[in-house]
């Protein structure tokens, strides 16, 4: 009852046979061992599992692996190019935009998509854009600062 899928993740194409009920996030974590994408809630609220699907921020717990067939996925592991941190990663580091780090990959990926759509956002727009990503540690203040800083350097 497996389906064979071909998915490009962080520039590498993988072929795998998966159960139809396997979620994209499970495929990333358990088949490809890309454990930077986290599962925080099972109900699509928390955003810890956010990845880019064909460039669009998507909660990978809301999508089946078979739906990713033929598509391009970018996870947090694929954001740094040739070992150079992406400006968002740098800004989160510099502005103390993370504490426990669990929500961080999802927040960074959501911000990546957001800044593409809105390269020069206000604080209010950043806060609104991050509604789908919960963070229980930072109170969001330094996340907002980090996104603003990244916007300036991108």
């Amino acid at each position: 009852m497996g389906h064979t899928i071909k998915v490009t993740v962080n520039g590498v194409t993988h072929e795998a046979t998966v159960e139809p009920r396997m979620l994209l996030v499970q495929f990333l974590r358990e088949v490809l061992m890309l454990t930077g994408t986290h599962i925080g809630c099972d109900t699509s609220q928390c955003g810890a599992c956010t990845v880019l699907v064909d460039g669009v921020a998507t909660k990978s717990c809301t999508m089946f692996a078979v739906q990713a067939d033929g598509r391009e996925i970018t996870t947090i592991e694929g954001l740094a190019a040739n070992g150079d941190l992406h400006p968002l990663q740098k800004a989160f580091w510099e502005e103390h935009g993370l504490q426990c780090g669990f929500c961080t990959p999802g927040v960074i990926i959501s911000s990546y998509d957001f800044l593409k759509r809105n390269p020069n956002p206000t604080e209010e727009e950043i806060r609104h854009a991050l509604e789908g990503n919960y963070c229980r540690c930072t109170g969001y203040q330094n996340i907002v600062k980090a996104v603003k800083k990244a916007a300036q350097s991108m």
Partner: protein, 780 residues
């Protein structure tokens, strides 16, 4: 030499988190691993008549199904509680997996273990449990009424303990003579912690070596090892290693020894294969220990001139179905002792009843007792000021413990180490421009707008200590901390700490301390934590204790390294030991330019060809630090809110936090801790709250139903500090992890009530959702 202490060094741990290379427990995959899924009770109270596991066992991929009886027959003991509140406290057994009765929705009933997560979950649905449903009670005030359903036969009236503190007669007397009494009835609602990483545990038993490794998302791996080995499984501690790798937030909920840690450990020993369990979020809601849940009646007696005479508090604390690890201590010793707040009123009496109900166990959640105490004191202060026609800042100022009165002994057994309450109040009022907002409020009222200003002057007690006192108040553990420092031959340093970081940034803060202490760069200091095979016996991280207790232990080890280094330097530099001083990161012959660095001394210590007579080679030291006292951070927070009269929605216009946490090692990290604490405290004030129906079903059982603050719910916080060092620990530090939560809940409630007080509203119960505020305004 750079001064790293006091600088906002970027965090050393961040690279792995921002690149997706952290290692949380669920990220770990071991060869031949199995997966556990736990069958949980759907009923709050029921008798288990029978469990049929045949169909589940026959399901493809299933390795085993275990019930509570299997564990019991194999000698697995109930989970212990770690805090005895009174001699007569009733401690009913807390089976790891229920045997004959279930007492809350989520109570483990059976365990299915399979070769994949999916198979385990599928098979769990095939386990048939026959229940005889029994009546349940969820509200603690109801549970102590005559005729309420009984949770445990051992406690027929559902009361585990009745605890009191303070002089009742003197307090009653002072209240009877007071010119004015301010009285409040307070519901401090139940909260669900919701650390972003769901709990996870892996048991990994190696039969040939008879060794067990438990990976668990815990705040204190040694405590888990001790409780599990000594009390539950009865296996030797030296054959058990507990690893808490990267942990995705805790806020108290990952302190406790949970059933699942025992289940995966025991099952791995049975099966000879690794067993992993990871909570789904709905399991987190049902089984992570909840927080708060107090019903309180508080009365404050005040003289005509605003001098507070006495405080009397009666609290009913909901403990849930079983006594979790530190359950009893939270609504008693960590609560009643804080009821003096920042004030010098001479008489306090508090009584707390700890009550069982058919709900998830309740234990420490960020602040743990101290937010509840601060809520009582600071709600009373604002209410009293209004009733007396005084400005709330003025009433507080009048009753502050003066700055020259420290150390100050309160009527509820604590001795505050240091403080300057007036200074933090002044600073906060200045930053927010208090008088301007009072004027603004008056103007707004004339226009029908609702603006409110709330104050909160709080006290916190961090790092319960010393161990002697912990013992005297019933804690079944010492509360010191261990550290060891290993200087390598080439001068790099590894620090092993008993504290545990799950977001607090210890790998950076502790490295800064050691860098300054030994004259090395923080890049050359590695901090190891969370692995009982590596670190000295440690008590872990909770109650804002890591820096004050764990950091002090590290500093003591630094001092021991310095002492030995001095002997080596004296020998090498051909000087008297008395003439060697540690200056600018080097060991220097006083008044000369002759000096040695740590690297040079370390090399000598490990290649001791030319070495002091009788001195041991090597450069490695241990320390266990047992503090002389708690530390007492304090501060003032002020919030300005505006309420939309048409919708009841509260908007926070300004939030100013002035905290005093003693000396600060890394200001960036401390600010971050305050921000996060504020978010959780404001969350309680405005949105969060666990709701059960009368049958004990948790209605707020997912992130769709339980409102965790989001980025656009919260304002930009204005954070500042005063610095009053702690006089009794070597770093002069106090603790910063909980101040935000302790201060902010009541600050916001005070602001909201202040905004509507002219409408005759004295109080609104939390959370102050738009509906509740709207109903209060419109009297509906």
């Amino acid at each position: 030499m750079a001064n790293y202490i006091g600088s906002s060094l970027k965090r050393k741990e961040d690279r792995r988190f921002i690149t997706g290379k952290g290692t949380y427990t669920d990220d770990i995959v071991l060869p031949n691993m199995t997966y556990a899924y736990i069958v949980r009770s759907p009923h709050a109270h029921a008798r288990i008549k029978a469990i049929h596991a045949d169909k589940a066992l026959a399901h493809p991929g299933v390795v085993a199904v275990f019930t509570g009886k299997d564990l019991q027959d194999d000698g697995v003991n109930p989970l212990p509680t770690g805090w005895q509140i009174t001699d007569s406290m009733i401690e009913p057994p807390h089976p790891v997996v229920a045997v004959d009765r279930v007492r809350y929705v989520g109570n483990p009933v059976a365990v299915v273990i399979a070769n994949s997560r999916a198979a385990a979950k599928d098979a769990a649905e095939l386990v048939e449990v026959d229940y005889e449903i029994l009546p349940a009670v969820v509200d603690a005030t109801r549970a102590i009424e005559k005729g309420a359903p009984t949770v445990h036969d051992e406690a027929p009236d559902n009361i585990s303990f009745t605890w009191e503190l303070g002089d009742k007669a003197a307090t009653d007397d002072a209240l009877s003579k007071a010119a004015h009494i301010t009285r409040l009835e307070i519901v401090n609602q139940r909260l669900i912690p919701n650390a972003m990483e769901p709990r996870s545990a892996i048991g990994d038993y190696h039969p040939a070596r008879d060794e067990l490794t438990l990976y668990t998302s815990s705040q204190n791996p040694h405590l888990i090892r001790l409780l599990m080995c000594a009390f539950v499984l009865g296996i030797p501690e030296h054959k058990v290693r507990v690893v808490s790798p990267d942990v995705g937030g805790g806020f108290g909920s990952k302190i406790f020894h949970y059933p699942e840690e025992v289940i995966v450990s025991w099952a791995s020993r049975k099966l000879g294969r690794p067993v992993k369990w990871t909570a789904e979020r709905s399991e987190s809601f049902l089984t992570d220990a909840h927080g708060r849940d107090h019903y309180t009646v508080a009365e404050m007696g005040i003289d005509k001139d605003g001098t507070i005479l006495a405080l009397r508090v009666n609290t009913i604390a909901n403990l849930g179905a079983y006594l979790s690890t530190f359950a009893g201590g939270i609504p008693t010793w960590l609560y009643g002792t804080l009821l003096a707040g920042q004030y010098k009123y001479p008489h306090i009496y508090v009584q707390t009843k700890g009550v069982f109900t058919h709900t998830t166990p309740v234990d420490a959640y960020r602040g743990a007792g101290r937010p509840e105490a601060t809520f009582v004191v600071e709600r009373l202060m604002d209410t009293a000021a209004r009733e007396l026609g005084m400005d709330p800042a003025e009433l507080r100022r009048k009753n502050f413990i003066p700055a020259d009165a420290f150390p100050y002994e309160t009527p509820v057994v604590l001795t505050y180490d240091s403080g300057n309450y007036e200074a933090s109040l002044e600073k906060a009022m200045q930053i927010i421009d208090y008088q301007k907002w009072r004027d603004e409020q008056a103007k707004a009222r004339n226009q029908g707008r609702l603006i409110g200003i709330g104050l909160s002057c709080y006290i916190e007690a961090c790092g319960i200590a010393p161990s002697k006192v912990a013992g005297a108040i019933g804690v079944r553990a010492g509360l010191y901390e261990g550290a060891s420092i290993r200087v390598h031959p080439t001068g790099q340093v590894t620090v092993y700490t008993g504290s545990h970081s799950h977001g607090q940034g210890h790998e950076t803060t502790f490295a800064q301390i050691v860098a300054d202490g030994l004259g090395v760069s923080p890049e050359n200091v590695e901090v190891v934590h969370g692995d009982t095979a590596q670190i000295p016996f440690g008590m872990g991280t909770y109650g804002s204790r890591s820096l004050a207790v764990g950091g002090s232990a590290i500093w003591r080890a630094v001092e021991k390294i310095r002492e030995k280094a001095k002997k080596i330097a004296a020998h090498k530099l051909e000087a008297s030991e008395d003439d060697i001083v540690f200056e600018d990161g080097k060991w220097v012959v006083k008044g000369t330019d002759r000096a040695l660095t740590l690297g040079e001394i370390a090399l000598t210590a490990y290649v001791p060809h030319d070495y002091p007579e009788g001195l041991e080679p090597g450069l490695e030291e241990n320390s266990f630090y047992d503090p002389a006292n708690f530390t007492f951070p304090f501060g003032t927070h002020i919030a300005v809110v505006e309420i939309d009269p048409d919708t009841g929605k509260v908007q926070i216009l300004r939030y100013v936090a002035v905290d005093d946490v003693g000396n600060v090692i890394n200001p960036m990290i401390v600010d971050g801790q305050v921000h996060g604490g504020l978010a959780q405290g404001i969350g309680q004030a405005l949105w969060e709250g666990a709701v059960y129906d009368e049958n004990g079903q948790l209605l707020t059982g997912s992130m769709m139903d339980y409102a965790i603050p989001k980025a656009d719910d919260l304002p930009h916080f204005e954070v500042d500090r005063t610095v009053t060092p702690c006089p009794h620990n070597p770093l002069g530090v106090k603790g910063a992890g909980e101040t935000g939560t302790i201060a902010s809940t009541v600050c916001i409630v005070n602001a909201v009530v202040d905004a509507v007080s002219h409408l005759g509203i004295k109080d609104i119960p939390m959370p102050l959702t738009p509906e509740r505020v709207w109903r209060a305004i419109h009297g509906k």
